[in-house]
């Protein structure tokens, strides 16, 4: 274990009397104090000094003083509040919170309206046909085969009972009938 010199031990003494030492350092200090009269004296003097300082507490002026203290402080606070400009600073908390809230709400409304207007102006023209009836798809399948890969454009729209169709659809392949089974009329199951 390291041997501490008197200067280092003085630090230990101050720490011991101030915050306390851990077990290891306490052992070191006690060992040193057992052998060193000068450090023992330092320890005694420091302990006495700190206890003297701590005991030098001004006398409490008593309850009446503290009551009077509260009353006169209240009066000084009221005077200050009534003086005007200072009062504004205290009240301004609520004011600033409300103002900030109003600004935030206004900014939110402005943002929502702006987004709505922007979307309205920049939206693509609406499609005439939103859905195609299954019957129509069936008819188209009969004519062109099921939809697969190739896009066919109809230059002219046509009407059905359900909708007006225009635009483009996808068909299955180059051979519109390629996907159909050829029915065998010789088959007894053929109706």
């Amino acid at each position: 274990m390291k041997n501490f010199d008197c200067h280092e031990v003085e630090e230990l003494i101050l720490t011991d009397l101030d915050e306390g030492l851990n077990q290891d350092k306490r052992v070191i200090l006690e060992r040193h104090l057992a052998e060193c009269a000068a450090c023992r004296k330092t320890w005694d003097e420091t302990r006495l000094l700190l206890s003297e300082i701590a005991s030098d507490v001004p006398e409490d002026p008593g309850e009446a003083f503290w009551r009077n203290y509260q009353i006169s402080l209240e009066a000084r606070l009221r005077d200050r509040e009534n003086s005007g400009s200072w009062n504004w600073g205290f009240r301004s908390w609520g004011f600033w919170w409300k103002t900030a809230g109003a600004f935030a709400l206004a900014a939110l409304i402005l943002m929502v309206v702006s987004v709505g207007v922007f979307r309205h102006w920049s939206a693509p023209p609406s499609m005439e046909v939103r859905s195609v009836s299954p019957d129509l798809i069936n008819d188209l399948d009969q004519l062109y085969g099921p939809v697969l890969a190739e896009e066919v454009t109809y230059s002219h729209g046509f009407d059905t009972e359900d909708a007006h169709l225009s635009g483009s659809i996808l068909v299955t392949s180059d051979d519109p009938f390629g996907e159909f089974d050829v029915e065998d009329e010789t088959n007894p199951l053929f109706l």
């Binding site: 003085e10 630090e11 101050l14 101030d18 000068a38 004296k41 330092t42 003097e45 420091t46 006495l48 000094l49 700190l50 003297e52 300082i53 701590a54 030098d56 507490v57 001004p58 409490d60 002026p61 003083f65 503290w66 203290y69 509260q70 006169s72 402080l73 209240e74 000084r76 606070l77 200050r80 200072w86 600073g89 205290f90 301004s92 908390w93 609520g94």
Partner: protein
């Protein structure tokens, strides 16, 4: 209720919350100031000024530090300003007092004279050491709190306290 709770209440407009803070801190703050100015009425006046300043400053107090350290910082600055305004040479504990009635015997008197000398020695310490000693011994603050009030680090506050103790011991003890 904690200080933070009272501050929140105060900010909601509950004025009584500030009275709660005054009730909590008026005594220790006034007694600390009394130790420095040595006059009860002066200490009361300065202490009330501290609370007026706190009341005024609370709307801008961001609660990044504790209310206690903030209030003590105001108290020490206000007391320091007050002492600076005083005429130099006027001290609550004058050197003449130390001579005392030398002819008066008795242990009690010796003790009183010793205490006066000790107070004077504390007053003569460099400001940071003196204030650190006061906050550490009388206000029972830890070094990080002291550092927040006086500036610097907890380590430097500890160093100031140790140096103050060393200086006083060398003055009063028959050392080495």
């Amino acid at each position: 209720m904690t200080d933070a709770d009272l501050l929140k209440e105060f900010r909601k407009g509950n004025r009584d919350a500030f009275s709660g803070l005054v009730e909590r801190y008026s005594k220790p703050i006034t007694m600390m100031i009394l130790r420095m100015v040595k006059d009860l009425e002066e200490a009361k006046d300065i202490s009330q000024t501290v609370f007026l300043k706190a009341y005024e400053g609370l709307p801008s107090f961001l609660m990044t530090s504790s209310f206690k350290t903030w209030l003590y910082r105001i108290a020490l600055n206000t007391t320091r300003d007050h002492l600076r305004k005083q005429k130099p040479g006027i001290s609550a504990v004058s050197v003449d007092d130390l001579a005392g009635p030398a002819e008066s015997p008795g242990e009690q008197l010796d003790k009183a004279r010793h205490l006066r000398k000790l107070r004077l020695a504390i007053e003569e310490l460099p400001e940071k050491q003196r204030l650190t000693l006061i906050l550490r011994i009388y206000e029972d603050m830890d070094y990080s709190e002291i550092a927040k009030i006086l500036g610097g680090t907890a380590g430097s506050a500890r160093g100031n306290f140790f140096q103050a103790t060393r200086t006083l011991r060398e003055k009063f003890g028959d050392v080495k």
